[in-house]
Amino acid sequence: MDYLQKLINQTRIRLFLVILVDNIILIGGFWVGNKILSFNAIELVGFLGAIALVETTLIATQMGKYLTQPVKALWQAIMHLSPESNGISAPEVKDLHIGRELVANLTSQIYQLISVADKVNTETNLKVKELSNNFIAQNLPLPLFVLDTGETVKFANQAAAEYIGIAAHELIGKNIYMILDMSFQSEDTFDNWLKNVKSTSATASKSWERVKLAVRDNHPTLLFDLAAYYNRDNPEKNETMLILFDHTKQYSQDDQAISFLALSVHELRAPLTLLRGYIEVFEEELEGKVDDELHGFMEKMHAQAEQLTAFVNNILNVARIDDDQLELKLEEADWEKILHTAIASLNIRAKVRGITLSVKCAPNLPTVGVDRLSVQEVLNNLVDNAVKYSGESKEVIIDAHLTQDGIVETTIQDHGLGIPTSIIPNLFSKFYRDHHNRAQIGGTGLGLYLSKAIVTAHGGNLWVRSHEGEGSTFGFTLLPYAQLSEDAKKNGSDNLTRSAHGWIKNHSLYRR
């Protein structure tokens, strides 16, 4: 066979190179296995053995053409792992994202090689097919899925089958979204990413943290980090590889911490109830009988008690959202009225910090479809933040108006400290990432996370525009009630109940 002879000739020339890079591959494999995947000794030996096996297969089946890419990926891994080129420093935690992506990239490249090897084997009867086929199935302990151009599962390894509790042969040929009902912490889901890269890139990689997977039949929910590698130009049309890094134990411990939090804040409510009650009694009884200074202290006490109540509610609602338990009932409401009610109580909090809240509301706004208490909470959070970060500036401007699209938009603008550009992309999903670092996030991590979930559940958008040192503008949109009820009718229901999620379902088909 002409073409086979050609491959053999090419490989002879490249064999020398292969031996040269052999050591590099093993060192890289060691690093990847040891540091990124955190394999134990036995797994590490298995992994390195697997790499060696692939190399043997590679030489035996003359895959010179496809050799350079995985070697390049390994090189990247090595360069990445030793940025100072000393070759011994361990990767820092913040680099894990890139590490996971490289693992996906590398595994994908190896998988491509095996696929081509299989083809050659079939044509040449070299009988090494079984070996190559079993490499990822048996030796890679990470759950792995290979998808074709239509997101159908072409391959799932043993670890994947065990992880999600479905036999491997049952996974093949199914659409990935049918098998993996994944939820993400932001709109940047796997589904959205893939759609985007398909239209823009030939290759791409990405990783996500803390992906949630609801598994059928009373299986506990799985929580993992996900890495994906996309490669449009490969001969076998194995476009996308997904690798799952399980963290169920670690992440669900965090979740339990949240439930515990929910219970604890419940205990906070009893003394808060009393505190607010007594403050009210003082205010009633001492009105006009105390001097300005004492009166000022009382107002501050009142404001702080209300602030604490709001904070307790935030914490509880975040816990509810993460339990998928925050349900919103949208009702027709006059936005101007809600705005003024909310601002009246927020004024107390602003006043004690010497800040004026100026409210502008366009006339004749259409009625909106809202869950009153929840949108008030959004206003509380955004205005509280604006007040908190106002710095030397003494005014916060709240402006409600109609957009060109006929949607009610409310902006909350301060001229205070502003937000560093580097933080903005993480602003609304910051809670989890910094959740062990409460000191850094202060109160804001919760409020914005919550507000975003609430506004999104209303069918609106929450956005921010900010320049460090010049202040910030937060804005959110709400749909007119007429539009909401019309949309509901179109969908054949009059149900205006919405759930607020901290997790975004992966695929639009599955979005509630």
Binding site: H266, A270, L274, G277, V281
Partner: protein, 132 residues
């Protein structure tokens, strides 16, 4: 009956079922100011018996009271087989977090559901004013 605070004349009567004395004291004060006659009972079983006399216009019901839970009291008072039915409007007052389905269930049977920490005694009294 532990404590009855009466305003003059034909004011509406409130039975406040609440075992935290400090809270019932504050609520009594605010409700009396708004013209209600307030009776406070802290024990669940005793409160149920008192409710069944059917002489109250409003019942403020805490969900966590000793001996019989507020939910049981609510269920007993709102039993559709009861003749005659309890005329009082029942307002749940709680600091307890319920999951949505439990809460929806309670709300179906009650005439109001308030989280104590979220309103001052005065605001509670104003809310009771709106319940007719």
């Amino acid at each position: 009956m532990e404590n009855t605070t009466t305003n003059n004349g034909s004011s509406r009567s409130v039975l406040c079922i609440e075992d935290e004395h400090f809270i019932s004291e504050l609520y009594t004060r605010a409700l009396t100011k708004n013209g209600y006659t307030v009776t406070v009972i802290s024990d669940g079983a005793e409160a149920l018996k008192e409710s069944e006399t059917n002489k109250y216009d409003i019942i403020l019901l805490d969900l966590m009271v000793p001996n019989i839970t507020g939910i049981e009291i609510l269920r007993t008072l709102r039993d559709p087989a009861r003749v005659p039915p309890i005329k009082a409007k029942i307002i749940i007052i709680t600091n307890l977090e319920q999951n949505e389905s439990v809460r929806a269930d309670i709300e179906k049977q009650a005439d109001g559901y308030l989280v104590k920490a979220e309103l001052t005694p005065h605001e509670l009294a104003d809310f009771v004013d709106t319940i007719k």
